[in-house]
Protein backbone atom coordinates (compact mmCIF):
# COMPACT_ATOMS: atom_id res chain seq x y z
CA UNK A 1 0.00 0.00 0.00
CA UNK A 2 2.77 2.35 1.02
CA UNK A 3 4.78 1.57 -2.10
CA UNK A 4 1.82 2.20 -4.45
CA UNK A 5 1.41 5.59 -2.80
CA UNK A 6 5.10 6.29 -3.34
CA UNK A 7 4.77 5.25 -7.00
CA UNK A 8 1.74 7.52 -7.45
CA UNK A 9 3.59 10.46 -5.91
CA UNK A 10 6.57 9.78 -8.20
CA UNK A 11 4.34 9.71 -11.32
CA UNK A 12 2.61 12.90 -10.24
CA UNK A 13 5.98 14.52 -9.65
CA UNK A 14 6.97 13.63 -13.21
CA UNK A 15 3.72 15.06 -14.55
CA UNK A 16 4.44 18.23 -12.61
CA UNK A 17 7.91 18.49 -14.14
CA UNK A 18 6.41 18.07 -17.62
CA UNK A 19 3.84 20.82 -16.99
CA UNK A 20 6.64 23.03 -15.68
CA UNK A 21 8.67 22.96 -18.88
CA UNK A 22 6.76 25.76 -20.62
CA UNK A 23 7.25 27.90 -17.50
CA UNK A 24 10.96 27.09 -17.47
CA UNK A 25 11.21 28.29 -21.08
CA UNK A 26 9.20 31.39 -20.29
CA UNK A 27 11.29 32.29 -17.25
CA UNK A 28 14.56 32.06 -19.17
CA UNK A 29 14.57 35.53 -20.81
CA UNK A 30 13.04 37.24 -17.77
CA UNK A 31 15.53 35.70 -15.36
CA UNK A 32 18.46 36.44 -17.69
CA UNK A 33 17.35 40.06 -17.90
CA UNK A 34 16.86 40.21 -14.14
CA UNK A 35 20.43 38.98 -13.60
CA UNK A 36 21.73 41.56 -16.04
CA UNK A 37 19.82 44.47 -14.48
CA UNK A 38 20.82 43.32 -10.97
CA UNK A 39 24.43 43.56 -12.05
CA UNK A 40 24.01 47.05 -13.52
CA UNK A 41 22.15 48.11 -10.35
CA UNK A 42 25.24 47.17 -8.37
CA UNK A 43 24.17 43.93 -6.69
CA UNK A 44 26.76 41.19 -6.17
CA UNK A 45 26.35 37.78 -7.84
CA UNK A 46 25.59 36.23 -4.44
CA UNK A 47 22.90 38.81 -3.70
CA UNK A 48 21.31 38.36 -7.12
CA UNK A 49 21.09 34.58 -6.82
CA UNK A 50 19.99 34.81 -3.18
CA UNK A 51 17.11 37.09 -4.10
CA UNK A 52 15.92 34.70 -6.82
CA UNK A 53 16.28 31.74 -4.45
CA UNK A 54 14.44 33.28 -1.49
CA UNK A 55 11.88 35.62 -3.08
CA UNK A 56 11.08 33.80 -6.35
CA UNK A 57 8.75 36.52 -7.64
CA UNK A 58 9.68 38.16 -10.93
CA UNK A 59 7.73 41.41 -10.88
CA UNK A 60 8.63 42.21 -7.26
CA UNK A 61 12.30 41.50 -7.89
CA UNK A 62 12.37 43.84 -10.89
CA UNK A 63 10.61 46.56 -8.94
CA UNK A 64 13.02 46.22 -6.01
CA UNK A 65 15.93 46.85 -8.38
CA UNK A 66 14.41 50.02 -9.78
CA UNK A 67 13.61 51.25 -6.26
CA UNK A 68 17.17 50.47 -5.11
CA UNK A 69 18.51 52.39 -8.09
CA UNK A 70 16.38 55.37 -7.05
CA UNK A 71 17.85 55.18 -3.55
CA UNK A 72 14.56 54.19 -1.86
CA UNK A 73 14.90 52.73 1.64
CA UNK A 74 14.62 49.01 2.33
CA UNK A 75 11.46 49.32 4.42
CA UNK A 76 9.57 50.87 1.50
CA UNK A 77 10.97 48.21 -0.82
CA UNK A 78 9.71 45.43 1.47
CA UNK A 79 6.30 47.10 1.76
CA UNK A 80 6.06 47.48 -2.02
CA UNK A 81 7.00 43.82 -2.42
CA UNK A 82 4.17 42.88 -0.07
CA UNK A 83 1.64 44.92 -2.05
CA UNK A 84 2.85 43.56 -5.39
CA UNK A 85 2.65 39.96 -4.13
CA UNK A 86 -0.60 40.07 -2.14
CA UNK A 87 -2.35 38.61 -5.21
CA UNK A 88 -0.74 35.26 -4.38
CA UNK A 89 -3.08 35.02 -1.39
CA UNK A 90 -6.02 34.93 -3.76
CA UNK A 91 -4.29 32.41 -5.99
CA UNK A 92 -3.39 30.10 -3.10
CA UNK A 93 -6.94 30.31 -1.72
CA UNK A 94 -8.26 29.38 -5.16
CA UNK A 95 -5.79 26.54 -5.71
CA UNK A 96 -6.49 25.21 -2.21
CA UNK A 97 -10.00 24.38 -3.46
CA UNK A 98 -8.58 21.75 -5.82
CA UNK A 99 -5.59 20.66 -3.72
CA UNK A 100 -5.68 17.22 -2.12
CA UNK A 101 -5.32 17.03 1.66
CA UNK A 102 -1.58 16.57 1.89
CA UNK A 103 0.21 17.17 5.20
CA UNK A 104 0.62 20.73 6.48
CA UNK A 105 4.38 20.40 6.00
CA UNK A 106 4.03 19.42 2.34
CA UNK A 107 1.59 22.27 1.74
CA UNK A 108 3.90 24.77 3.45
CA UNK A 109 6.69 23.46 1.23
CA UNK A 110 5.04 23.70 -2.15
CA UNK A 111 3.19 26.93 -1.40
CA UNK A 112 6.59 28.66 -1.53
CA UNK A 113 6.56 28.05 -5.28
CA UNK A 114 3.19 29.66 -6.07
CA UNK A 115 3.71 32.25 -8.81
CA UNK A 116 1.38 33.66 -11.47
CA UNK A 117 2.68 30.97 -13.79
CA UNK A 118 2.76 27.87 -11.56
CA UNK A 119 -0.68 28.84 -10.27
CA UNK A 120 -2.09 29.25 -13.78
CA UNK A 121 -0.77 25.87 -14.90
CA UNK A 122 -1.96 24.03 -11.78
CA UNK A 123 -5.34 25.76 -11.60
CA UNK A 124 -6.28 25.04 -15.22
CA UNK A 125 -5.29 21.38 -14.93
CA UNK A 126 -8.03 18.73 -15.05
CA UNK A 127 -8.95 17.21 -11.69
CA UNK A 128 -7.11 17.76 -8.43
CA UNK A 129 -3.48 18.57 -7.63
CA UNK A 130 -1.36 16.97 -4.93
CA UNK A 131 2.02 17.55 -3.32
CA UNK A 132 3.89 15.32 -5.80
CA UNK A 133 2.56 17.28 -8.77
CA UNK A 134 3.06 20.68 -7.14
CA UNK A 135 6.65 19.92 -6.15
CA UNK A 136 7.47 18.74 -9.67
CA UNK A 137 5.86 21.81 -11.25
CA UNK A 138 7.31 24.37 -8.85
CA UNK A 139 10.81 22.89 -8.75
CA UNK A 140 11.05 22.98 -12.55
CA UNK A 141 9.98 26.61 -12.68
CA UNK A 142 12.19 27.48 -9.67
CA UNK A 143 15.33 25.85 -11.08
CA UNK A 144 14.99 27.79 -14.31
CA UNK A 145 14.42 31.06 -12.43
CA UNK A 146 17.42 30.68 -10.13
CA UNK A 147 19.79 29.26 -12.73
CA UNK A 148 19.08 31.88 -15.39
CA UNK A 149 19.21 34.76 -12.87
CA UNK A 150 22.79 33.75 -12.09
CA UNK A 151 23.62 33.16 -15.74
CA UNK A 152 22.15 36.55 -16.69
CA UNK A 153 24.44 38.20 -14.16
CA UNK A 154 27.45 36.41 -15.63
CA UNK A 155 26.82 36.53 -19.40
CA UNK A 156 24.23 39.30 -19.55
CA UNK A 157 23.73 40.66 -23.02
CA UNK A 158 25.24 37.54 -24.60
CA UNK A 159 21.96 36.45 -26.21
CA UNK A 160 21.11 37.91 -29.63
CA UNK A 161 18.90 40.99 -29.20
CA UNK A 162 16.15 39.79 -31.58
CA UNK A 163 15.82 36.46 -29.74
CA UNK A 164 15.66 38.25 -26.37
CA UNK A 165 12.91 40.48 -27.71
CA UNK A 166 10.83 37.70 -29.22
CA UNK A 167 11.16 35.64 -26.05
CA UNK A 168 9.56 38.42 -24.02
CA UNK A 169 6.21 37.14 -25.32
CA UNK A 170 6.78 33.64 -23.92
CA UNK A 171 4.91 33.90 -20.61
CA UNK A 172 1.98 35.75 -22.14
CA UNK A 173 1.76 33.15 -24.87
CA UNK A 174 1.68 30.53 -22.14
CA UNK A 175 -1.17 32.31 -20.35
CA UNK A 176 -3.08 32.44 -23.64
CA UNK A 177 -2.35 28.77 -24.24
CA UNK A 178 -3.78 27.91 -20.81
CA UNK A 179 -6.85 30.12 -21.17
CA UNK A 180 -8.07 29.40 -24.70
CA UNK A 181 -8.96 25.68 -24.32
CA UNK A 182 -11.24 26.52 -21.37
CA UNK A 183 -12.75 29.45 -23.31
CA UNK A 184 -13.71 27.09 -26.12
CA UNK A 185 -15.54 24.69 -23.85
CA UNK A 186 -17.11 27.15 -21.40
CA UNK A 187 -18.53 30.58 -22.29
CA UNK A 188 -18.35 31.58 -18.60
CA UNK A 189 -14.53 31.56 -18.91
CA UNK A 190 -14.79 34.12 -21.74
CA UNK A 191 -16.79 36.48 -19.53
CA UNK A 192 -14.44 36.00 -16.57
CA UNK A 193 -11.29 36.72 -18.57
CA UNK A 194 -12.76 39.58 -20.60
CA UNK A 195 -14.24 41.34 -17.56
CA UNK A 196 -11.02 41.05 -15.55
CA UNK A 197 -8.98 42.27 -18.54
CA UNK A 198 -11.32 45.26 -18.94
CA UNK A 199 -11.20 46.18 -15.24
CA UNK A 200 -7.43 45.79 -15.17
CA UNK A 201 -7.03 48.03 -18.23
CA UNK A 202 -9.18 50.74 -16.66
CA UNK A 203 -7.34 50.58 -13.33
CA UNK A 204 -3.79 50.53 -14.70
CA UNK A 205 -4.12 52.70 -17.80
CA UNK A 206 -6.27 55.20 -15.88
CA UNK A 207 -3.43 55.14 -13.32
CA UNK A 208 -5.97 54.60 -10.54
CA UNK A 209 -3.74 52.16 -8.64
CA UNK A 210 -0.56 50.10 -8.80
CA UNK A 211 -0.40 46.94 -10.93
CA UNK A 212 -0.29 44.80 -7.78
CA UNK A 213 -3.63 46.04 -6.43
CA UNK A 214 -5.12 46.31 -9.89
CA UNK A 215 -4.72 42.59 -10.66
CA UNK A 216 -6.21 41.63 -7.27
CA UNK A 217 -9.18 43.98 -7.60
CA UNK A 218 -9.88 43.22 -11.27
CA UNK A 219 -9.78 39.47 -10.57
CA UNK A 220 -12.04 39.70 -7.52
CA UNK A 221 -14.59 42.00 -9.17
CA UNK A 222 -14.84 39.78 -12.23
CA UNK A 223 -15.03 36.53 -10.22
CA UNK A 224 -17.70 37.92 -7.86
CA UNK A 225 -19.79 39.56 -10.61
CA UNK A 226 -19.90 36.42 -12.76
CA UNK A 227 -20.66 34.24 -9.73
CA UNK A 228 -23.46 36.58 -8.61
CA UNK A 229 -25.09 36.56 -12.04
CA UNK A 230 -24.82 32.78 -12.17
CA UNK A 231 -26.29 32.28 -8.68
CA UNK A 232 -29.13 34.62 -9.57
CA UNK A 233 -29.85 32.80 -12.84
CA UNK A 234 -29.71 29.27 -11.43
CA UNK A 235 -31.76 30.45 -8.42
CA UNK A 236 -34.50 31.73 -10.73
CA UNK A 237 -34.35 28.57 -12.80
CA UNK A 238 -34.84 26.41 -9.69
CA UNK A 239 -37.80 28.57 -8.66
CA UNK A 240 -39.33 28.23 -12.13
CA UNK A 241 -38.90 24.46 -11.95
CA UNK A 242 -40.87 24.26 -8.74
Amino acid sequence: MESTLAVKQATDFKKGVQSGISIAIGYMPIALTFGLIAKTTGLALGETVMMSMLVFAGAAQYISLSLLAQGIGIFEIILTTFIVNIRHFLMSASLNEKAEEDSIGARMGYSFGITDETFSVAATREGTVNAGYMFGLNLTAYSSWVFFSGLGFLIGAGLPQTLQESMSVALYAMFVGLLVPSMKSNVKVVYLAALAAAFNSIFTMGELMSTGWSIVLATLLSAILVETVETFKTGRRTEADE
Partner: protein
Protein backbone atom coordinates in the same frame (compact mmCIF):
# COMPACT_ATOMS: atom_id res chain seq x y z
CA UNK B 1 27.39 40.76 0.38
CA UNK B 2 26.09 43.95 1.92
CA UNK B 3 24.23 43.48 5.19
CA UNK B 4 21.51 45.95 4.21
CA UNK B 5 20.77 44.13 0.96
CA UNK B 6 20.63 40.76 2.73
CA UNK B 7 18.13 42.15 5.27
CA UNK B 8 16.08 43.57 2.40
CA UNK B 9 16.05 40.22 0.59
CA UNK B 10 15.00 38.34 3.73
CA UNK B 11 12.24 40.89 4.36
CA UNK B 12 11.03 40.55 0.77
CA UNK B 13 11.13 36.76 1.11
CA UNK B 14 9.00 36.78 4.27
CA UNK B 15 6.30 39.14 2.97
CA UNK B 16 6.14 37.16 -0.28
CA UNK B 17 5.94 33.73 1.34
CA UNK B 18 3.22 34.45 3.92
CA UNK B 19 0.38 35.27 1.47
CA UNK B 20 1.36 32.23 -0.62
CA UNK B 21 1.34 29.86 2.33
CA UNK B 22 -1.52 31.03 4.59
CA UNK B 23 -4.53 29.81 2.55
CA UNK B 24 -3.07 26.30 2.22
CA UNK B 25 -2.75 26.09 6.00
CA UNK B 26 -5.83 28.08 7.09
CA UNK B 27 -8.32 26.46 4.72
CA UNK B 28 -6.92 22.90 4.78
CA UNK B 29 -9.82 20.44 4.92
CA UNK B 30 -12.30 23.29 5.51
CA UNK B 31 -15.52 23.57 3.58
CA UNK B 32 -16.02 27.20 2.56
CA UNK B 33 -19.50 28.66 1.87
CA UNK B 34 -20.72 27.64 -1.64
CA UNK B 35 -20.76 31.21 -2.98
CA UNK B 36 -17.14 31.76 -1.88
CA UNK B 37 -16.15 28.42 -3.39
CA UNK B 38 -17.74 29.51 -6.65
CA UNK B 39 -15.83 32.81 -6.60
CA UNK B 40 -12.53 31.03 -5.91
CA UNK B 41 -13.18 28.61 -8.78
CA UNK B 42 -13.65 31.63 -11.05
CA UNK B 43 -10.38 33.22 -9.94
CA UNK B 44 -7.98 31.33 -12.28
CA UNK B 45 -9.74 32.46 -15.47
CA UNK B 46 -10.22 36.02 -14.24
CA UNK B 47 -6.55 36.16 -13.18
CA UNK B 48 -5.43 34.96 -16.60
CA UNK B 49 -7.48 37.70 -18.26
CA UNK B 50 -5.93 40.35 -16.00
CA UNK B 51 -2.41 38.96 -16.36
CA UNK B 52 -2.59 38.93 -20.16
CA UNK B 53 -4.29 42.25 -20.74
CA UNK B 54 -3.19 45.03 -21.06
CA UNK B 55 0.40 43.93 -20.21
CA UNK B 56 0.84 41.92 -23.42
CA UNK B 57 0.56 45.13 -25.46
CA UNK B 58 3.58 46.65 -23.76
CA UNK B 59 6.18 43.86 -23.91
CA UNK B 60 8.18 46.00 -26.36
CA UNK B 61 8.02 49.67 -27.23
CA UNK B 62 6.48 48.77 -30.60
CA UNK B 63 2.84 48.01 -29.71
CA UNK B 64 2.43 45.85 -32.84
CA UNK B 65 4.88 43.45 -31.30
CA UNK B 66 2.44 42.61 -28.52
CA UNK B 67 -0.58 42.60 -30.83
CA UNK B 68 1.06 40.19 -33.29
CA UNK B 69 2.37 38.02 -30.44
CA UNK B 70 -1.07 37.87 -28.83
CA UNK B 71 -2.80 37.10 -32.14
CA UNK B 72 -0.30 34.34 -32.93
CA UNK B 73 -0.76 32.78 -29.49
CA UNK B 74 -4.57 32.94 -29.74
CA UNK B 75 -4.66 31.37 -33.19
CA UNK B 76 -2.23 28.55 -32.35
CA UNK B 77 -4.06 27.86 -29.06
CA UNK B 78 -7.46 27.98 -30.76
CA UNK B 79 -6.33 25.32 -33.21
CA UNK B 80 -5.90 23.09 -30.18
CA UNK B 81 -2.11 23.06 -29.82
CA UNK B 82 -0.30 22.15 -26.62
CA UNK B 83 0.89 25.05 -24.40
CA UNK B 84 4.56 24.53 -25.34
CA UNK B 85 3.66 24.70 -29.04
CA UNK B 86 1.78 27.95 -28.38
CA UNK B 87 4.84 29.42 -26.62
CA UNK B 88 7.35 28.33 -29.29
CA UNK B 89 4.97 29.29 -32.11
CA UNK B 90 4.56 32.86 -30.83
CA UNK B 91 8.30 33.25 -30.33
CA UNK B 92 8.86 32.03 -33.91
CA UNK B 93 6.26 34.41 -35.39
CA UNK B 94 7.79 37.38 -33.55
CA UNK B 95 11.32 36.38 -34.59
CA UNK B 96 10.16 36.49 -38.22
CA UNK B 97 8.43 39.84 -37.60
CA UNK B 98 11.49 41.47 -36.02
CA UNK B 99 13.74 40.00 -38.72
CA UNK B 100 11.79 41.82 -41.43
CA UNK B 101 11.43 45.02 -39.41
Amino acid sequence: MSKEIVIMIIGMAVVTYIPRMLPFVMFRGKELPPFLQGVLKNVPYATLGALIFPAILFIQEDIWYGIIGAAAAFIVAFLGANVIVVVIGSIAVLSVYSYFL
